[in-house]
């Protein structure tokens, strides 16, 4: 691309770099600050942003190890962070697997089969997706309270109930997978059927292996979407050992019990892996979608 360069262009370039650096400072400040705070002794110490003494007390507490202080008193970990992380990962894993399974089969029907009212169902799904779950929390709470009176294993305060609640949010994923299936020539499956394969065999043995990249992408998206979900988890889970990270983390910053340093360590500990997964997946999603190796 040819853009006129000259003296004005040079100054503009320097200006752009300066502006971007200022903006980067604002963007990165909270992220760097929280790392530094997690390494700073004490929960209230305000002072230099680069800690003069490095202390791992907050990290120990976040990992569930009691800390012995200089005066001999032992500080117990305030919250079971690792348990919450495990809860989050467990719920997100199971939900993501089920979401992928459900949306793949549904997407197959939408992409390959003819049935009545197909377009209507597809469009209603898109419309439904516009309504945020947070607005229907009262109803969701009432539904799970009702379920819990008959099937206690799926009621309030159960992880199974939360997972079941997450299975409603599949519309976007169905659309994504359907788009991918649409791009795979139907002739491949048809030739398998000519050779005597049934519907389910053509689906499982021919189409699914070709769709692995998109299934991975949907899995990661569903996993991240579930692990950061707050509203539904906050009404269905209330007791401390049951919580997910997204619900539990806020308890660090209550006015009455303000654990800034402990929170920082827990936030870095739990936020870093999710962030890395997201950054890696981002690259992978783009390459997976643009490479389209199976189209050959």
């Amino acid at each position: 691309m040819a853009i006129v360069t000259g003296k004005a262009g040079r100054w503009r370039l320097i200006g752009a770099h300066a502006g971007l650096c200022v903006l980067l400072a604002f963007t990165l400040f909270p992220l760097l600050a929280v790392i530094s705070i997690s390494l700073r002794p004490g929960n209230f110490a305000t002072g230099s942003l680069i800690p003069s003494t490095i202390s791992f007390e907050h990290w120990q507490l976040a990992l569930g190890i009691p800390v012995k202080q200089a005066d001999g008193s032992v500080v117990q970990p305030p919250f079971p962070v690792l348990l919450w992380l495990w809860n989050s990962i467990k719920i997100a894993m199971i939900s993501a697997v089920l979401i992928v399974a459900i949306s793949t089969t549904a997407a197959y029907a939408f992409a390959r089969m003819k049935f009545a009212r197909k377009q209507f169902i597809l469009n209603s799904m898109l419309l439904l997706q516009m309504f945020p779950v947070a607005v229907a929390l009262v109803a969701i709470y009432a539904i799970f309270e009702g379920i819990g009176t008959t099937v206690p294993a799926l009621g309030i305060e159960t992880h199974a109930g939360l997972i079941v609640a997450y299975l409603g949010g599949v519309a976007m994923h169905i659309w994504t997978i359907k788009g991918y299936f649409d791009s795979i020539p139907v002739e491949i499956e048809e030739s398998a059927k000519v050779d005597g394969a049934s519907h389910s065999q053509a689906f499982r043995l021919v189409l699914l292996p070709m769709a692995v990249p998109i299934l991975m992408v949907v899995f990661v998206l569903a996993f991240i979407g579930t692990i950061i979900e707050y509203p539904v988890a906050s009404i269905l889970l209330r007791e401390e050992p049951n919580l997910t990270l997204a619900v539990g983390s806020k308890f660090y910053l209550y006015e009455q019990k303000y654990l800034w340093g402990d929170f920082a360590a827990a936030a870095v500990l739990s936020g870093l892996p999710i962030t890395l997964v997201f950054l890696l997946a981002q690259r992978w999603i783009v390459s997976g979608l643009t490479a389209g190796g199976v189209k050959g």
Binding site: I3, H17, P30, A109, Q129, V135, V151, G168
Partner: protein, 512 residues
């Protein structure tokens, strides 16, 4: 059709039969628990599942069923149910169905203090004996029970006949803590006195005659036996009431028509904060989209500039706020903005000697919310704009370069007009998303500081959806009905936004 049916039809039929039985059992137990609506819903859902999978009616629905059922039950049904709750008085005062509230009242009992007899519990080997002293002010023999196992169980315990103490020798009485450990078993234990009277557990120290508090009348009214007052179910208020209008707790759930909506419009105490919250919701969503778009679009344009070095690095770092989980970055900001311990006030204090009260001052809280949300939101717009700018043909810029145009001219004459159209529907959904950005408000300020002098607590920077959450789940009253009515209003607005978005998308696609 499916492989299982082809290989062994009997297995398929057996599974279908078992599923049908399990379904019938669940539906029946729901029905007997008084949840008629849920029972019917489950019957419809389970019945269609068995129909879809056990018959060869439609192969497509075998693949579709789980997804569609999940969306119907957990997305579509909650929406409709919310609308329905909006027309009721469902709240912590009116939680139960009428029949359950009636049963609750009829279960209430009262102990006759004057006839109560103190008791002591004595261990005897692995079992226990219970000794009853005569009631206060009366003379008479102490009574003793045969050895009791005192194991708590769900089965109804038959009455235990008490005998005169006579010469029975008992061990030392158990202390209070041991009594507490046997409380559940004792509470289930009726004792029969020699004269045939039944007495029951009336506290940690006494057994006494227990009589019901309420009597059911033939016409459905309830009479309070002590006062003799008759309470009738009033199905427009949802309480049992006397003729004078005196109410008995708990109330029950009834349909109250448009009362929740008229409260929003007509109750001046409620309308004031409600209107302010509504305006702030729109302002909040609008300004968020405006600021993030301004910042994100500028960055996208600047980062497309070929002469700029390190563009990939800038792009990755600027993308970070989008990759960090929202609940973590919002809480990090909550800590950083803290008035006394927060790093942001530390810096402001060092530079300018001020410590703004970010969480106590309504206006500053709003400023903080917008700063945080812009930080959270601009990377997404940046990614969107980058994609759209890449799609603009390069020869347009070449032509403008030949004409000697400046970058600003390029932006306003080429870039902005070309990306505006495809960007608009995306910005509308960003607006709709922030209109309902519950997580941000809930985790950052929880809507506080609150308005003063309101009957229902309302926050100055609550948005509609966080306000409904407060009404429903946190503050006293737990008024689910009112919260659902406000949610219904939100649905209407979301539906309007969805329609506008659809129209714009269709128009831009039609022209393409």
């Amino acid at each position: 059709m499916s492989a299982t049916n082809a290989t062994s039809p009997w297995l398929g039929r057996a599974v279908a039969g078992l599923a049908a039985l399990a379904l019938m059992w669940l539906v029946f137990s729901l029905w007997t628990a008084g949840q008629a609506l849920a029972a019917v819903g489950l019957l419809a859902l389970g019945g269609s599942a068995i129909f879809v999978y056990a018959t060869a009616h439609s192969v497509a629905w075998k693949y579709l069923f789980p997804g569609v059922a999940g969306m119907l039950v957990f997305v579509a049904f909650p929406l409709l149910y919310t609308v329905q709750i909006g027309f009721t008085n469902y709240s912590s005062n009116n939680l139960l169905e009428e029949a359950r509230a009636r049963a609750y009242l009829l279960d209430q009992t009262i102990a006759d203090e004057a006839q109560s007899r103190p008791y002591t519990l004595h261990a005897e080997g692995p079992s226990f004996r219970l000794k009853l002293a005569p009631h206060e002010g009366a003379s008479g023999d102490a009574l003793v029970s045969p050895p009791l196992a005192l194991k708590a169980s769900d089965a109804v315990t038959p009455p235990v006949a008490m005998q005169p103490l006579g010469a029975t020798i008992l061990a030392a009485p158990l202390n209070l803590r041991e009594l507490i450990s046997h409380r559940d078993a004792l509470a289930a234990l009726p004792l029969q006195l020699p004269d045939g009277q039944l007495i029951r557990y009336a506290g940690l120290r006494e057994f006494g005659p227990i009589s019901p508090l309420w009597k059911a009348e033939a016409d459905g009214a309830l009479t309070q036996l002590i006062t003799g007052n008759t309470y009738r179910a009033n199905r427009s208020t949802g309480y049992f009431e006397t003729a004078a209008g005196e109410r008995m707790q708990p109330g029950f759930k009834v349909n109250i028509g448009l009362a929740n909506y008229s409260r929003m419009l007509l109750d001046a105490d409620f309308r004031g904060p409600f209107v302010s919250i509504f305006i702030w919701t729109v302002v909040f969503a609008g300004l968020t989209v405006l600021f993030s778009t301004a910042l994100g679009m500028t960055l996208a344009v600047v980062l497309e500039w070929q002469n700029l070095k390190y563009r990939a690095l800038y792009r990755t770092l600027l993308f970070l706020p989008y990759a960090v989980p929202g609940f973590i970055s919002i809480l990090v900001f909550k800590g950083l903005f803290n008035q006394n311990f927060g790093e942001i006030n530390g810096i402001l204090n060092a530079l300018f000697g001020v410590r703004p009260a970010w969480f106590a001052d309504p206006l500053l809280a709003k400023v903080m919310i917008l700063i945080v949300n812009t930080w959270l939101g601009y990377p997404y717009i940046m990614i969107l704009c980058t994609g759209l700018i890449k799609a603009i043909p390069a020869d347009l810029y070449e032509a403008s370069a030949i004409a000697g145009a400046q970058p600003l001219t390029n932006f306003f004459k080429i870039t902005a007009p070309l990306i505006a159209k495809p960007l608009t529907p995306l910005l509308i959904s960003a607006f709709a998303f922030n209109f309902n950005n519950f997580v941000l408000i809930s985790l950052l300020t929880d809507g506080r500081p609150d308005y003063l002098n309101t009957k229902l607590p309302a926050g100055t920077n609550d948005i509609l959806v966080s306000y409904t959450y407060r009404i429903a789940f946190t503050d006293s009253g737990q008024n689910f009905g009112l919260a659902a009515a406000i949610s219904t209003l939100i649905f209407v607005m979301v539906a309007v936004m969805a329609m506008v978005q659809l129209k714009i998308t269709q128009r831009s696609e039609g022209r393409r």
